[in-house]
């Protein structure tokens, strides 16, 4: 005995009744965002101050003209200089974090509001023992059997009793080629012309960027103070990052419990990709507050951390790749049409089975157009 009637009703109506409404009524309160840290690495350290932006017009709104100061528990303090709008730096010869000392930040905005954080202790650094990868397959909606990629793991060295909380940031660098190898260039008459621009010199690049992912971990519930097999992040073959050689610099921040709680919450929020979930959305509390009005919302965090870092290199992943390559035209009629519309020269590239195709976007012959640079980074080891 089944009835689909009500479902039917529900579906008929639901399908036709999802209507967009404007978020005009939403008031962006212009909340101060504090994003900065001090570590035991030499400076300069950057404190970035921004305001929240509108949900329908995301942008960076720098908070200019503030007086920003980092103070330690010995009484030493240093004013920061605004070098770019909203970006405040310590001087290169200035303050350097010392393990065991406590630090706080004070901010005075141009309209006279004063903010500060509590003193926070710089913990003992903990060394990274090793970073390694495993080939894993992570499924998604289109690929139920999984997309291959490298999962990065980390082991720490044993820490002392005091140091239980960690935050990792990753900066990746990878070497890549343009999608196709250039075969020949034709002029408007269909004659081959000489490669005058030395395209072979712009086909391999290195690109460095921060990994837009936060990883946190703790040994608080472990009997030994050592993390092993900590999953850091995943690099999938949906990008060309693993096509030639890949390197990552992992910075391990030893932080205190409060900082850990903050970053762990932020991690949960951003890894929860779908904001449609039924759990209540919420904001994570900052450690910076308005000294005159404790209830004023301030987001972001001033993190005090000691750092250790490690870089590893991995070679090309021997698995199929799933990233979209640039468009190459092989159909003769389409090529004719393309050549009718576009001016020469026409670039033909090598595709599989020694066939050739016309590259639709010649800019793709320059790897720099994908954000990389031609200079090999100093640390790079092939």
């Amino acid at each position: 005995m089944k009835i689909k009637l009500l479902i039917l009703f529900t579906l008929i109506i639901t399908l036709s009744c999802k209507e967009e409404f404007l978020l005009d009524s939403v008031q962006n309160e212009k909340i101060l965002i504090v994003d900065g840290f001090i570590s035991n690495e030499p400076g300069p350290y950057r404190i970035k101050l921004t305001y929240t932006s509108n949900v329908s017009q995301p942008e960076t709104l720098p908070v200019k003209g503030c007086e920003v100061m980092i103070t330690d528990n010995t009484g030493y303090s240093e004013s920061l200089t605004e070098k770019e709008p909203g970006n405040y730096y310590t001087s290169a010869s200035g303050i350097i974090g010392v393990v065991g000392n406590q630090y706080k930040i004070t901010i005075k905005t141009s309209d006279g509001k004063e903010y500060e954080s509590e003193f926070q202790e710089m913990k003992n650094p903990v060394e990274i023992d090793s970073i390694y990868t495993k080939t894993e397959f992570i499924p998604n909606l289109d690929n139920p059997y999984g997309i291959p990629g490298y999962m990065f793991y980390l082991d720490t060295k044993p820490a002392d009793e005091q140091q239980k909380y960690f935050l990792w940031s990753m900066t990746e660098t990878y070497k890549y080629d343009i999608d196709y190898e250039l075969a020949y260039i034709l002029d408007k008459y269909g004659d081959q012309i000489t490669n005058t621009l030395a395209y072979d010199t712009i086909e391999t690049c290195w690109k460095t960027e921060s990994v837009k992912y936060i990883s946190t971990g703790t040994t608080a519930n472990l009997t030994n103070n050592q993390l092993t097999g900590k999953q850091l992040y995943f690099v999938s073959t949906e990008t060309k990052k693993l096509t030639k050689r890949y390197s990552v610099l992992v910075k391990q921040y030893a932080i205190d419990k409060e900082a850990f709680q903050y970053w762990d919450e932020v991690r949960k929020q951003i890894s929860n990709e779908n904001i449609l979930t039924t759990t209540q959305p919420y904001n994570v509390n900052s450690n910076v507050f308005n000294i005159a009005d404790y209830d004023e919302k301030v987001w972001g965090y001033f993190t005090v951390a000691s750092v250790s870092e490690k870089r590893i290199f991995v070679d090309q992943l021997k698995e199929p790749f799933y990233f979209n390559k640039t468009v190459v035209i092989t159909d003769q009629r389409a090529i004719s049409e393309y050549r009718r519309v576009h001016k020469p020269p026409y670039f033909y590239v090598k595709i599989e089975n020694d066939a050739y195709g016309l590259l639709a976007e010649p800019a793709c012959l320059d790897c720099r157009n994908e954000g990389g640079t031609l200079e090999k980074p100093d640390f790079w080891i092939d």
Binding site: M1, K2, I3, K4, L5, I7, L8, T10, L11, I12, I13, C17, K18, E19, E20, F21, L22, L23, V26, Q27, E29, I31, I33, D35, T50, T52, S53, N54, V55, S56, Q57, P58, T60, P139, P144, Y145, S169, S210, K212, Y213, A220, N221, E265, V266, K268, Q269, I270, N272, I275, L276, T278, T279, Q280, P281, Y282, N283, D295, K297, W299, G300
Partner: protein, 928 residues
């Protein structure tokens, strides 16, 4: 699609018929009670007074064959057997007498008065003291002898006219009635009283029928035997009630005179006047039209009563707790209105025999079977079919009733071309069996069984299956007139199973079972006129099984997760008294002591002190063995209610309740979903405690035709269970790490105006309320919403309900209800910011924004079949329209991040007019 709509409209469906309610009637439950107990019970409950001069009343048994019989019918039918007659006035005074004599054929009168098959008993009637009759009996046709025999007026001799004189006065205040009309039927002769109510009438000796009538008064019939000149004083009653139409109002008494506040009693008959929603009449859903009752959305299970979350209410059907009372996501309740005689709803002063729910109790009474003969009824509505059978097991003492309701019509939906719809399905059933066994005069036994189940399979990949199953055995023993005991054994189970195959390789299933076992022993003792005592013992044993989270199939990559079960024992002792201090002042109070024990086996974690309860802070783990007492909580609950009657139609009441709740619901969605799990208090999760203060004014107007009331309440709940920000519901093995306890504060004012009788009847009520949650644990530093108070998810400050029924003709009536409420609160994404170049969404304070206001109008038209008295079956049609204005009331708001920008969408369900037609048929006449 068109064809489907047509089908929905045209399928003619059997439906059970129930008589339209007569207004202002006390309905009597099916029973077999000794006369004196019955009478004293009524006097206590309804403020009625019974006057009688009857010998051997101990032999009289009041037998009520069916549930929801109007008091008058019940009395009349039961007492005729003993040749006892009954009448009453409009003050709630009942007069009973027996053995008066009627000399000649008076069946003509009795036909209208005692319309049933009891006419043979009129023969037994004997002469009755004129004095008694004059004083009390305004309806009974008796022969009044006027004058004396033998004064030269013997039979056979020529008669001379004699003069009869007297005054006509009002029965209620004794004032004389001018312009009253006297009509001698046989002679078609009329006389009118003068300004002093005095009249004279000349008649030949003989027997006549005399009708006295006056505007605004009840007609009164006399059978007079005139022998010679004499006096006849006539008293007429103010016309308020017509026998067999409307009698003393139960709620009239309740509203002003009882100590009950925040209380509603709704009988099955009463709901026939309310609009039918989607072809189903749902007695329990009427609660949503009462002040102080809200729901999160229209297709949401669970009620929010006076600002409390849904798990603070409990539905009891014949003492059986039902943990999920919703069919099809809350569209219907799991109680078939056919099989229900009435329900009582308590939202301020909860009876002391109930412990465990802070906010409200829905006490539903199933019907008892017919003790005379086997009968049945059946029906088909647009969504379900139902059958009900009842009959005696042993004539006049024991009976059964069985009712089953189930969805049907696969054939209908398989004809739908849309695959999404055809591949979705939802079905439900509910069934009950009620056996009433009158063992002997001193003992009654009641066995009740109940079950409900829902299955749904949505094409986008969620399969649900949930059920309630249980039974009760109740043994009532009457020690004597004043002392009764009730012993109850209850077993109830709620279970669900969910399979999620939205994404094949992530398919999983999980299940949950709650077992509720209960024993209750209760003594009721009427100490004297002033005190009603109650004392009892109550034990509950809970067993909660959190089934493992398992991969759904071999393709699934989900790792199984194991969850531990929980068990607890709750023992309570309770005592209460209702004390009528003097006639205008009554108080009611109770105390309940509870010992709650959380039992092993269970792994209990210890957390770092003054730190958030999270996996990261676990310092120790203890494994407890089976039946170890892991943690005990001892608590006292209190109830107090008082009433003072300022006048007969105006009273002030107040109540105070203090309660504790040990079982609560964990739900990851805003409304009650089938997959809501229940959780027991444990060493980390303290029992919730709640206090409620209420104060109310009750005033009846227009001779009790209009009831008005205004109640204010203030409620606070401690240790309210809230999910922590960002809690993970399904895979978390340690529930306490997901939960944070806070405080709930709710207050409001409820204003109600009700017209209970007449061509147009119904009610309108307005509620202003506020319900706020504050979660801030100072020890652990954990908080929600920065520790600031936020509106509860169901907080809807303004609510207005209007519902009315208008009888256009005897056969056509129109019902409508209009519902308005403030939109429920939601949390909006309000900003975007970047940390370390990662985009992060900023949100408003929790529940800072609101969705659009809710507004809905329903209309239904009932068309009765013919009202002939003798026929095989009675029928009526109902045409109803849900959401007449087709307003798209948003059910939910969703936000999506599209290319870094956030967009909002309103989703509405049932955002259009939904018509339905139901044909109702019942075998036997409507009075059966």
């Amino acid at each position: 699609m068109k064809r489907l709509h047509l089908l929905i409209l045209l399928v003619s469906l059997l439906y059970n018929f129930q008589l339209f309610a007569q207004n202002d009637i006390i309905y009597i439950k099916k029973q077999s009670t000794r006369f004196e107990d019955f009478i004293s019970g009524l006097e206590k409950k309804y403020n009625l007074k019974f006057y009688y001069q009857i010998e051997k009343t101990s032999d009289i048994i009041i037998k009520v064959e069916e549930d929801s019989i109007p008091l008058d019918d019940a009395l009349r039918n039961s007492l005729l057997r003993y040749a006892v007659f009954v009448t009453h006035d409009n003050e709630g005074n009942y007069f009973l007498f027996r053995e008066f004599k009627v000399q000649s054929d008076v069946s003509g009168f009795f036909e209208s008065l005692y319309s049933d098959e009891n006419q043979e008993s009129t023969e037994k009637q004997k002469e009755q003291s004129e004095n008694f009759l004059k004083t009390y009996d305004d309806f009974i046709a008796q022969t009044i002898v006027i004058g004396k025999n033998g004064n030269g007026h013997q039979n056979g001799r020529k008669k001379e006219k004699v003069k009869i004189s007297g005054t006509i006065t009002s029965l209620s205040d004794g004032s004389s009635i001018p312009q009253a009309r006297l009509h001698v039927i046989e002679l078609n002769k009329n006389e009118v009283s003068n300004i002093d109510g005095y009249f004279e009438i000349e008649l030949y000796p003989g027997e006549y029928t005399l009708t006295a009538s006056s505007l605004g008064m009840h007609d009164r019939n006399y059978r007079i035997k005139v022998l010679s000149s004499g006096e006849l004083n006539i008293e007429l009653k103010t016309k308020t009630f017509l026998l067999g139409d409307a009698v003393v109002s139960a709620n009239k008494s309740h509203n002003v005179r009882s100590t009950n506040m925040g209380f509603e009693k709704i009988s099955a008959a009463a709901i026939k006047e309310l609009p039918i929603v989607l072809g189903e009449q749902d007695i329990v859903k009427i609660a949503l039209l009462l002040p102080g009752v809200q729901t999160v959305g229209e297709v949401s299970a669970g009620f929010n009563v006076r600002g409390s979350p849904a798990d603070q209410n409990m539905f009891y059907i014949n003492d059986l707790p039902v943990y999920n009372s919703s069919h099809i996501f809350g569209l219907f309740t799991t109680f078939n209105s056919d099989a229900i005689s009435e329900f009582n709803f308590y939202k301020s002063n909860i009876p002391i025999e109930y412990g465990g729910q802070l906010s409200s109790i829905f006490e539903i009474d199933a019907k008892e079977g017919n003790k005379k003969h086997i009968t049945g009824r059946g029906g088909i509505g647009p969504t379900s079919a139902r059958v009900l059978a009842e009959g005696p097991l042993k004539k006049d003492s024991s009976s059964f009733i069985v009712s089953v309701r189930s969805t049907y019509s696969d054939w209908l939906l398989n004809r739908v071309e849309n695959l999404d719809i055809r591949n979705s399905s939802a079905s439900f059933y509910d069934a009950l069996m009620n056996f009433s066994l009158g063992l002997n005069k001193k003992n009654d036994l009641n066995i009740f069984l109940y079950g409900s189940q829902d299955k749904s399979d949505l094409s986008f990949g969620i399969r649900n299956d949930y059920s309630n199953l249980g039974g009760t055995v109740k043994w009532i023993h009457y020690f004597n007139k004043n002392l009764t005991s009730e012993f109850n054994l209850v077993k109830s189970q709620y279970a669900y199973n969910e399979s999620n195959y939205e994404i094949n390789y992530l398919g999983y299933q999980h299940s949950f079972t709650l077992d509720h076992n209960e024993a209750k022993l209760k003594f009721k003792y009427n100490l004297n006129d002033k005190h009603d005592l109650q004392i009892g013992l109550n034990s509950k044993y809970y067993q909660l099984e959190y089934g493992d989270l398992k991969p759904l199939n071999e393709q699934s990559v989900i790792k199984p997760i194991y969850f531990e079960s929980e068990q607890a024992l709750i023992n309570s002792l309770f005592a209460g008294d209702k004390w009528d201090i003097f006639s205008r002042l009554s108080v009611e109070g109770g105390i309940r002591f509870t010992m709650y024990s959380f039992l092993g086996p269970k792994t209990i974690y210890t957390y770092e002190e003054a730190s958030p309860i999270s996996v990261n802070n676990i310092t120790d783990t203890t494994a407890y063995a089976n039946n170890d007492f892991i943690k005990n909580y001892y608590n006292f609950d209190f109830r107090f209610a008082g009433k003072y009657e300022i006048s007969n139609s105006f009273s002030v009441k107040m109540s105070y309740n203090m309660l504790h709740q040990y079982v609560f619901m964990l739900s990851n969605s805003i409304s009650v979903s089938p997959t809501s799990k229940w959780k027991l208090s444990d060493p980390h999760l303290k029992p919730m405690s709640g206090e409620q203060y209420s104060l109310g004014l009750y005033k009846n107007l227009w001779n009790d035709k209009i009831e008005t009331s205004a109640e204010v309440y203030y409620k606070n709940v401690k240790n309210l269970v809230e999910y922590k920000d960002g809690a993970d519901f399904i895979t978390n093995q340690i529930p306490e790490t997901n939960i944070i306890q806070g405080d709930l504060t709710a207050y409001g004012i409820e204003i109600m105006l009700k017209k209970k009788s007449g061509k147009l009847n119904g009610w309108i009520n307005y509620t202003y309320s506020k319900s706020e949650v504050k979660v801030f644990n100072e020890t652990t530093g954990e908080m929600n919403n920065n520790g600031l108070p936020y509106p509860a998810n169901y907080d809807k400050p303004h609510a207005l309900n209007l519902t009315f029924n208008y009888k256009l003709t005897k056969r056509i009536s129109l019902s409508s209800s209009v519902v308005y409420s403030t939109g429920r609160p939601v949390t909006y994404p309000t900003s975007i910011y970047y940390l370390n170049d990662i985009q992060i969404t900023g949100f408003s304070g929790r529940n800072e924004y609101r969705i659009k206001d809710y507004f809905r109008t329903d209309l239904s038209i009932n068309i009765e079949g013919n009202l002939k008295k003798n026929k095989l079956a009675h029928s009526f049609w109902s045409v109803s329209f849900y959401n007449l204005t087709a307003r798209k009331n948003p059910y939910a708001i969703v936000f999506q991040n599209e290319d870094g920008k956030i967009k909002g969408y309103e989703i509405s369900i049932l955002g259009t007019i939904i018509p339905s037609i139901t044909y109702n048929l019942k075998f036997g006449n409507y009075e059966d």
